[in-house]
């Protein structure tokens, strides 16, 4: 008989099966195409302007900068070298002036690519893409033969979940790697911190895919898995934002019960805004982009705990996945 324990064996085979399932879908090619498109977009970037080391920040400098050509003589007379240059996109099709150093201009583009495009549209697209995997798989005619094998049901579910998350992780690596290499080749700026986008995207997706998996096991409906996860995602953003607004700005008129509920909701639910904030900090984006004011406010009050945000978000995912596994284990087929 096979010496590999059945749990490990099951997870391994389920991960392998999920990879095959993922590759067979049309949306996989759509996502791959989007990654290719973004990579091509990055290859078409060129930035001219001052280097990062030339950038000396004036103590009174405002977060939004005047373009170099508008910097008045008084500023220049003070000896401040005004940063600025030109960014061209689409291999020179679009050109515009920027007030940042060359490196900051590139990092700003990367922040938009990973922090906004991939972390929002990409994660939602991935959730939509994978939401149908489990309901289809769990249909009685499809799964009875598989469940009649000596494979623990919880390991079957874990393998499917891990397979999806790993595959989306691979897509994230392709996206971040492709755009990083392309940007580096095109501009000469090789920002290592950009790679933090991979764990950010994977954690963000893993947390919400756990909810999708739970809904799939519970209802076996793709529609419920898609819309339920989307609504939950909105709820989490709302809760995260509301908590920081309340804590950061001392919102008046809240009853103790409401304050408690917001605090409890924040700590129990995943924290997508905090995860974005962590990536923002990793890219040191505060030097060249305006942060979310609510995040700044909680940070100033010492109420932002990035490690706890990540840990509690992952704990939530583990809890929801355990519930799904319990439901699956006790389900009649």
């Amino acid at each position: 008989m096979n010496p590999v324990p059945s749990t490990i064996r099951t997870v391994r085979w389920m991960v392998r099966d999920t990879f095959r399932q993922s590759v067979s879908t049309k949306l996989f090619w759509v996502m791959l195409g989007l990654t290719g498109l973004c990579t091509a977009f990055c290859l078409g970037i060129s930035v001219s302007g001052t280097a990062a080391e030339d950038r000396v920040k004036h103590p009174d400098e405002l977060p939004t900068y005047m373009p170099k050509k508008y910097a008045d003589d008084k500023v220049k007379a003070e000896g401040i070298r005004v940063a600025g240059g030109e960014v061209s996109l689409g291999f020179g099709l679009f050109k515009f002036e920027v007030t940042k150093s060359r490196a900051d201009s590139v990092k700003l583009i990367q922040l938009w690519l990973a922090g906004v495009l991939a972390d929002t549209a990409g994660v939602l697209l991935a959730l939509l893409w994978t939401a149908g995997f489990l309901p289809g798989f769990l249909e009685p005619h499809a799964v009875t033969v598989l469940l009649a094998k000596p494979a623990p049901r919880w390991a079957v579910l874990l393998g499917k979940y891990a397979g999806v998350v790993l595959f989306v992780g691979l897509q994230a690596v392709l996206f971040v790697g492709g755009t990083w290499v392309a940007t580096g080749l095109a501009t000469g700026v090789w920002e290592g911190a950009y790679w933090y986008a991979v764990p950010l995207l994977v954690v963000n997706f893993a947390v919400f895919y756990a909810v999708s998996a739970f809904l799939a096991v519970w209802t076996r409906s793709t529609v419920v898995a898609v819309f339920g996860t989307l609504l939950f995602w909105l709820l989490c953003w709302g809760m995260n934002f509301t908590h920081h607004r309340v804590v950061g700005y001392d919102v008046a008129g809240l009853t103790p019960a409401a304050a408690f509920l917001i605090d409890a909701g924040y700590w129990v639910l995943p924290k997508p805004l905090d995860l974005s904030g962590i990536f923002f900090d990793a890219l040191r984006a505060g030097d060249y982009s305006a942060p979310v004011p609510e995040l700044v406010a909680v940070k100033e009050r010492g109420a932002f705990h990035p490690e706890l945000s990540v840990v509690t978000s992952l704990l939530f995912a583990a809890g929801v996945l355990s519930l799904a596994a319990y439901e699956f284990r006790t389900m009649d087929y």
């Binding site: 008989m1 096979n2 085979w13 009875t144 033969v145 598989l146 009649a148 087929y333």
Partner: protein, 252 residues
């Protein structure tokens, strides 16, 4: 040793809001499937045959009673590695090829990775799908899927083969193949549990039989005894023997 033992097994499926109601599919079944037998499980529709099979495979939990599979409680999943299962209405993953499917199910059954490909090839040749082994299952006809279903049931060299309406969708050569497989199991001293409405097949292949009606066992014993006409002592058709037993279910 018995291949399967059911002791006072009952199954009620919950119905209604919060599962307050219930439909009794199996009611107090006590039954032994001897090792090495070719055992037919017969009964009219909704008699509880498939539910009994599903409980034996740990797909469904009994509401009451105990089930032993290959000498161990059915709750211990390890013995499922010695069981092959084929049912009438497979929906295999359409993105897999026949070869990939056998490797996948073989791997999950605990068949060592070394030699799994060769084994899958041999089985596909056996069921007449060798020339289609790399094609996605999405392109297979119902009969081809059934043949693949038989191949996957054999991939782990099972000691107990459970066939639930296996001839559904199979052509003549497919049915012949199935009969050959059952005979091979018989010759090797292995157990086959066959659920079927195709009575000539049951008469040809099986040596023991249990008849279920309305969730209860109304007959169990050698097929030869069931076929013996109590009035004349001669052999009677299986259909004639079953009719009064099936009617017990209707009366209940």
């Amino acid at each position: 040793m018995a291949a399967a033992v059911f002791e006072n097994v009952a199954k009620t499926y919950p119905t209604g809001l919060f599962g307050r109601g219930g439909v009794a599919a199996v009611r107090g079944v006590t039954l032994t499937v001897p090792a090495g037998s070719t055992f037919a499980l017969l009964g009219p529709n909704r008699a509880g045959k498939t539910t009994l099979v599903k409980m034996l495979l740990s797909l469904t939990a009994p509401t009451a009673g105990t089930i032993t599979r290959l000498g161990a409680p059915a709750t211990a999943r390890a013995t499922l590695g010695r069981v092959g299962y084929m049912h009438e209405n497979h929906a295999f993953p359409r993105y897999l090829s026949a070869s990939d499917l056998l490797e996948f199910y073989g791997g999950l059954s605990g068949v060592p990775a070394a030699g799994l490909t060769a084994k899958a090839d041999a089985l596909l040749a056996r069921v007449g799908l060798a020339d289609r082994k790399t094609e996605p299952i999405a392109r297979f006809s119902k009969g081809m899927v059934q043949r693949l279903g038989l191949a996957q049931a054999l991939v782990n060299d099972p000691d107990l083969l459970i066939l639930d309406e296996p001839t559904e969708g199979l052509d003549l050569s497919g049915r012949q193949l199935l009969r050959e497989v059952v005979r091979e199991f018989k010759a090797a001293g292995k157990t086959v549990l066959l659920v079927s409405h195709v009575l000539p097949e049951v008469e040809e292949l099986c040596d023991r039989v249990a008849v279920l009606a309305a969730g209860r066992v109304v007959y169990t014993g050698p097929l030869a005894d069931l076929l013996r006409d109590p009035k004349t002592g001669g052999r009677r058709p299986l259909e004639a023997a079953l009719r009064p037993l099936y009617e017990q279910g209707v009366a209940a």
